[in-house]
Structure formats: C-alpha cells, structure tokens
C-alpha cells in the first residue's frame, strides 16, 4: 500500500525552446524534408518579392500629372492618382459625388452597430437596412426628386457602381434564395419542388456572362415592343437571380441542419407552417449558415467585375477605360494592380469576417 501525501506544486515547463534559434529549428529545419522545403520557399520568395517591391515601391514614380513624369522602369502611380475619380465614381458628375459618399457613409453608419454583440435593436436595424435604406439610397443616387438633379445610371461607374451591384445583389438574393430553398424542400408539392430545382440547377449550370448577355441585350426580345427598362436594373436582376440560386443551396444546407424535432415542437404549439418557418426554423437555419452566406457574398462581389463584359463601367471597366486613355498609354499593369488591390481588400475583409463568425458560432455561444 502506498500513498503519496505531498502534493507537487505546478512547475513551469522546462526551458522554453520556443524562442529564437529554437523556434527556427523547430518550425523550419527539424527534418531534411523540411530543410529542403524551407530553402525552396525562401528561393520562391526571393524570386517574387524583390522584383515586386522594386517595381511597386523603389523604382516607382509617385509625382507628376502627366505620363511624361513616369520613367516606366517602375510603377507609375500618378496614373492612378489622375484617374482616381474615375475609378471611384465612373462618370458620376463631380458636383454630385457627395451623394455617393453620403450613401456609403450612411450604410457604414447603419451597419457598424451590427458588429457589437450587445446591441439590442439589431433586428430593427436590420429591417431598416433592408427596407428603408435602399429607398433612401435609391433617391440619393438617382435623384430627380427633393431638389436633387437626376443622374442617369449610365453615368454611374467605378467602385461605387461595383458596390451598388454587389449590395443590391446581396439584399435581393437572400430572400429569393430562401424562397427557392423552401420550395426545393416542399416534398408534398412535387411540381413546385421540380420548378425550384430546375431553376436552381439551370442558373447554377450556366456561366454568369451568358446570363448577363441575355439580360443586357436579349431581354427586349421577350418583352412587348416599347417596353424596356434600365440596363443597370437588368444587370442587377441578372446578378441577383444568379446569386439567389447559389444562396438557395446555402440556405437549404441550413434548413437541413435544423432537426425535425424543431418543426414538430413548433407544430405542437399550434404554429402553422409559415409561422413556424418564420419564427422558429429560419432564424436558426440562417444563423447556422452565416459563413456560407458571407462566402456567397464574396463570390457575388467578385463576380460584379463581369459586368465589364456587357459594357457597364464598374471598377474594372473604369480601369480599362483609363487604360485606353490616349494620354496615359501603357500603364495597364498599374490599373489592374490597383483594381485588384481594391477588390482584394473588400473580399479579404469579408472572408476574415466570415471566418471570425464561423469561430464564434462554433464556440456555441449564443449572443
């Protein structure tokens, strides 16, 4: 029989091997294979980083107002500065650009509180963003009322157009996607289900640019003569339909993640189909798939660049227009790099946000 009366105190771990050289050894050189991989990676970095830094920073030109100011050995950033207005607003009249800014600031101000966990009026604010804000933004951007001059959609462009398409697409795709997903799960209504499946699969099966082509130049074929509507609106519809098919699949995943027992519990309380769906099922299902939704948004945001192909001058379109500027020929790389950086910044922050959400949701915390 043995007992061990004395209790050991917790000791600190043995000599921290995890700093400096120790860290290097442990993380980079702990086996021959790893050594090789490390050296290869270093070589790759050597190939890529110095030339890029040299081009973009060291040998770049920063000042000047015309193409003569650029030596062409490095990047020519004045090109971006001169065209910045075009990149941001397209052909939106300079005097009216405050309206675009205001719309964006307003949106930012509305969204910001959503990021705070303990903000009580979240659902009200959400409703305002989804229902009221679009009306405000529409009048602000289009004008023609309240003493604002009318700005045609064909003048919209640049980053602001990209944002408009992306945001409208997101806002429209979510409810559409929910309807489609519910339709796809309506097993007791085979025809309805088949229609939803057909729509989803059809739209997901064809490239977005064919959808855009259809909506931009072929749509009037299908309408009575003289009936016509704004080209931007049609692009928006095309983008929204496309995104809604993807959204439907995401939402369906969420619906599948809700146990049948939740339906039963709601039904047993006397809630009908629509009430239990709206009050019990959807809130849970959507929360479950927030990361998927954000990912769809990222895809949507990137896909907006395709409207270039139907002649809308979004951010990328403006870049190309600027590339064609006779006074500034040969700086397309700078243009693409700049546009790429902006797209990247938006997508990257969204994807980080989605990862953060995923972690938070996984942690199982509620509110």
């Amino acid at each position: 029989m043995t007992t061990y009366p004395q209790r050991h105190a917790d000791l600190p771990p043995p000599s921290a091997r995890t700093a400096g050289l120790g860290w290097l050894r442990k993380n980079l050189f702990d086996s021959p294979l790893n050594c090789a991989l490390t050296l290869l990676s270093l070589y790759l970095l050597y190939l890529v980083v110095p030339p890029v830094v040299e081009w973009a920073l060291i040998k770049a030109d920063w000042r000047g107002a015309s193409s003569e100011a650029c030596s062409r050995v490095g990047a020519c950033w004045p090109f971006i500065r001169v065209h910045l207005n075009q990149f941001m607003y397209g052909f939106y009249p300079v005097a009216q650009q405050w309206r675009v800014n205001l719309a964006i600031v307003l949106l930012g101000a509305l969204i910001a509180p959503l990021f705070f966990r303990r903000f009580a009026l979240k659902s009200w604010l959400g409703a305002v963003i989804l229902l009221v804000y679009p009306v405000i933004a529409f009048h602000l951007l289009v004008g023609g009322r309240f003493g604002l001059s009318h700005v045609e959609t064909s003048k919209w462009g640049g980053l602001s157009l990209t944002l408009v398409i992306a945001i409208v697409g997101m806002v429209a795709a979510l409810p559409l996607g929910i309807v489609l997903a519910l339709g796809r799960r309506a097993t007791n209504m085979p025809i309805l289900k088949a229609l939803c499946v057909a729509f989803i699969e059809l739209v997901r099966g064809v490239p977005l640019i064919t959808v855009l082509f259809m909506s931009s130049v072929m749509l009037p074929f299908f309408l009575p003569e003289g009936l016509n509507f704004d080209k931007l609106l049609r692009a928006l519809i095309g983008v929204a339909l496309f995104a809604s098919a993807y959204m439907a699949e995401v939402v369906r995943g969420g619906l599948q993640g809700i146990p049948k027992a939740q339906f039963e519990a709601a039904a047993a309380l006397g809630l009908g189909f629509w009430k239990s769906t709206a009050l019990v099922i959807l809130p849970q299902a959507l929360r479950l798939v927030i990361p998927g939704i954000v990912n769809t948004f990222i895809g949507l945001f990137k896909d907006t660049s395709l409207v270039l192909i139907i002649g809308l001058f979004d951010l990328l379109g403006s870049t190309q227009a600027a590339n064609a500027d006779t006074n500034w020929l040969g700086f397309s790389t700078e243009g693409y790099v700049f546009a790429g950086c902006i797209y990247w910044a938006f997508c990257f922050s969204m994807s980080r946000y989605s990862q953060w959400l995923e972690k938070r949701l996984q942690a199982g915390q509620r509110h």
Binding site: N27, L28, D30, N34, L37, T38, S41, L42, L44, L45, N188, M189, P190, I191, L192, L195, E201, L202, R204, G205, V206, P207, L208, I209, T210, F213, M214, V217, M218, P220, F221, F222, L223, P224, E225, I298, K302, D303, T304, S305, L306, L308, I309, L316, Q320, S332, T333, Y336, V337, A339, G340, Y343, W344, C347, F348, S351
Partner: protein
C-alpha cells in the same frame, strides 16, 4: 383477448376541401404551374412576334452555312474557306473542353499541394500556402486573367528575341513553340514496345500485390513499371535506328513555323483558371483532411503504421469523402469560368460561337440557347461523374 370491439371504421372523415392540406397543395401547385406556363407563353409569344416583325430569320439552318472567318486555335481541321458555322460550334466546344479539362487537372494537382502545404509543420511553407490562398481567392478571376495575359504573357519577348532552349524550344509572346514529332517507317516497333511494356507493368503490379499478400514482402512495383515504361520503348527506339523526326520550330518570316505551338491566350487562361481554382480546392482539401478525426491518426500510429502509410491508407480515403462534393462544385465553376476566355480572345465556345458566329448570323436565340444548353450538359456530366465517384467512396453505415 375477446373484447367488445366496435365495428372497424373506415378511413377518417374527409375535411372541407379548403381546409385539406392536400387540396391546398394541389391548388397552389396548379396556380404556380399556370403562372409559369402563362409567363413562358407570354415571353415566347413576344419573342416570336418580335422576331417576325423584325424580319429575323429563325431556325438552325445557319449552322450549315460557310463561316468564312479564321480561328486562332482549333483541335479539329478547320478552314476559313470551307468550314461551316456548325463546325465553329464544335471547335469552340472542343476548345472549352480543352481548357476546362486541363484546368481541372492542373488545379487539382496544385490545389492538393497547396492544401497539404497549408497544414505543413514547416512554418514558412504553411504561411506561404495561406498567403497564396488569400491572395488568389480574393481577387476576381477576370482581373487575374487580364493581368496574366496583358501584363505577363504579352510582355514576353517577340519572336525575334525568343527565349529558347537549344534550337527546339522557343518561348515568345506569341506562344510556346515545341518540336513536332513525325513518325518514320519503323516507328511501329517503338509503339509496340511501349504497349508490351505497359502490359508487363500491369502484370508486374498485379504480381507484386499478389506476392505481398502471400509472403508479406513488398516490391517497388510502381517504380519498376515506370522504369519499364521508359526504358523498353527507348531501347526499341534506338535499336530500330531512331525512326522519329522532330520538326523543329523555325523562325521563318514573321513567325515560327513547324513544331507545335501553345498560344498565350490558352496559357494565360489556363494559368489563371488553375491558380484561381487551386486556391479554392486547397481549402477543400484542407477541410477534408481536418475532418478526419485525430483519433484515426492516433489509432494508426498506435498500431505502428508509419506517417506515410497512415496518410495513404487511413487519412486520404476518409478525407476524400468530405472533399469530393465541394470539389465537384469547383470543377463546375472552373468550367463555367472558362467562358471568361472572351475577355482575352481565346476561341472558346462563348467567344467563338456565342460571339463571332452570333454576330455574323444574328441568330441570338438559337445561338444562346445552344450555348447555355451545352454548359448545362457539361455541368450535368461532371456532376454525374462526381456523384458516381462519391457514391463509391461513401461509408457503409448501419
């Protein structure tokens, strides 16, 4: 258990029709289908009317008309003097299939490498892999395509100053030129030797597996058969007096002639599609590997299996199950994204058929419906194949 049972009653009474969910379902569906049909009829009638009023010819007769324009890259014989619009459709389709097929292969390989690299113990490798993923996943594909094409490939040297390896391989902004092999008499022997080596290696693999089962001894069958496949034809080739002529590309006039060339449009499209999709595949692969519970690895290690075998025998077969469905969507996306070829003039289906041909013939409805149908069919075929593959990998459950 005799008991005073009431006479068994028939089915429960029928409710009022408007309270019966079945009736409701039918009515709703009839309404929806009627709405959809009405909409379809309305659209189609407008279409017919508009086409007629505007004097646009309809029908698929145009497919047999002569096309009369040149195509940059064609996998089947095509001549601008004789070929028809129907043929441009096939050429475009094949080009689309070529770039998507190659893209799928390249992005899968690259994606698996990056995905595994992101899980590497080597800090630098893992960070580089994440940087790769974050960079390429968050940039629109169109930007990437335009960048690679205009900013990279078109900045290669012109034919006169081609980068070259010896006098056989040339890289210029007009493409990569490789020697073209032309078989001489007697080359049949080499082919025959190759076939023989193939048969031999199949036998070898079978034999080694059999022997492993019988005696537990292992034999590096794959290595050996690779050796066979390379050496036997080579020996035959040399013995029969090297009956193969290489037509080397040569700079004649404006361009290199002879040889095989890979046009930069294909290269740029393929590169950007592969790089872009690989970033997504890498994430898929990583998720697949992470989805296999660490208990599986521990169990395998505890049995004395080496890490390499654990990966091959235990982890990957299980990771595939999680990986395949998202992988399928990536393949579908890649195929659809290949339609962005139109931005840089690679003659794919959209650019060639839904572009030039549509413009020459003006038959938008026919051309666009054919194009979309083709994409749908390709998507369905890929899905079906992957579903079949997935079903084979699926776990047997109780």
């Amino acid at each position: 258990m005799a008991q005073t049972k009431e006479p068994p009653e028939a089915a429960p009474a029928r409710p009022l029709p408007w309270n019966d969910p079945r009736v409701r379902a039918i009515v709703l569906q009839v309404l929806v289908i009627a709405g959809v049909i009405a909409l379809a009829v309305y659209l189609v009638r407008n279409l017919m009317h508009n086409l007629e009023v505007r004097g646009i010819s309809t029908g698929f007769g145009f497919l047999s008309n002569r096309a009369g324009f040149a195509i940059n890259q064609s996998l089947i014989p095509y001549s601008e003097e004789t070929s028809t619009y129907g043929r441009t459709f096939v050429v475009g389709l094949l080009n689309t299939l070529l770039v998507s097929g190659l893209g799928i292969v390249c992005s899968t390989i690259l994606g698996f490498i990056i995905g595994v690299a992101r899980l590497s113990r080597n800090w630098l490798v893992a960070k580089l892999a994440s940087a790769y993923i974050e960079t390429f996943r968050n940039l629109p594909l169109l930007v990437q395509i335009l960048f690679w094409y205009f900013a990279v490939f078109l900045n290669l040297p012109p034919p006169g100053e081609a980068l070259h390896i010896g006098d056989s391989f040339f890289l210029t902004l007009r493409g990569l030129y490789l020697p073209r092999p032309v078989a001489q008499a007697g080359f049949g022997w080499t082919v025959l030797a190759f076939v023989a080596a193939m048969v031999a290696s199949i036998v070898l693999v079978w034999w080694s597996r059999h022997r492993r089962d019988r005696t537990g001894k292992r034999f590096p069958a794959y290595l050996a058969s690779t050796g066979l496949l390379l050496s036997v034809p080579l020996v035959a080739f040399v013995l029969t007096g090297r009956p193969l002529q290489w037509v080397k590309p040569e700079l004649a006039g404006f361009n290199f002639v002879g040889g095989v060339d890979v046009i930069p449009e294909l290269a740029a499209l393929l590169l950007s599609l592969s790089i872009y999709t690989a970033a997504f595949i890498a994430e898929t692969v990583r998720a697949g590997i992470l989805s296999v519970s660490p208990g599986q690895t521990e169990a395998a290690y505890a049995l004395g299996l080496r890490p390499r075998w654990t990966l091959r025998l235990v982890i990957i077969p299980q990771a595939m199950r999680v990986t395949i469905p998202p992988l399928t969507s990536q393949y579908l996306n890649l195929t659809k994204n290949s339609s962005l070829a139109t931005a840089i003039g690679y003659p794919d289906l959209v650019s060639l058929f839904a572009g030039t041909t549509l413009n020459q013939t003006g038959q938008a409805v026919e051309v666009m419906s054919m194009t979309m149908a083709v994409y749908l069919v390709i998507s369905l075929v890929i899905s079906m194949f992957m579903n079949w593959f997935n079903a084979r990998m699926a776990l047997v459950e109780r």
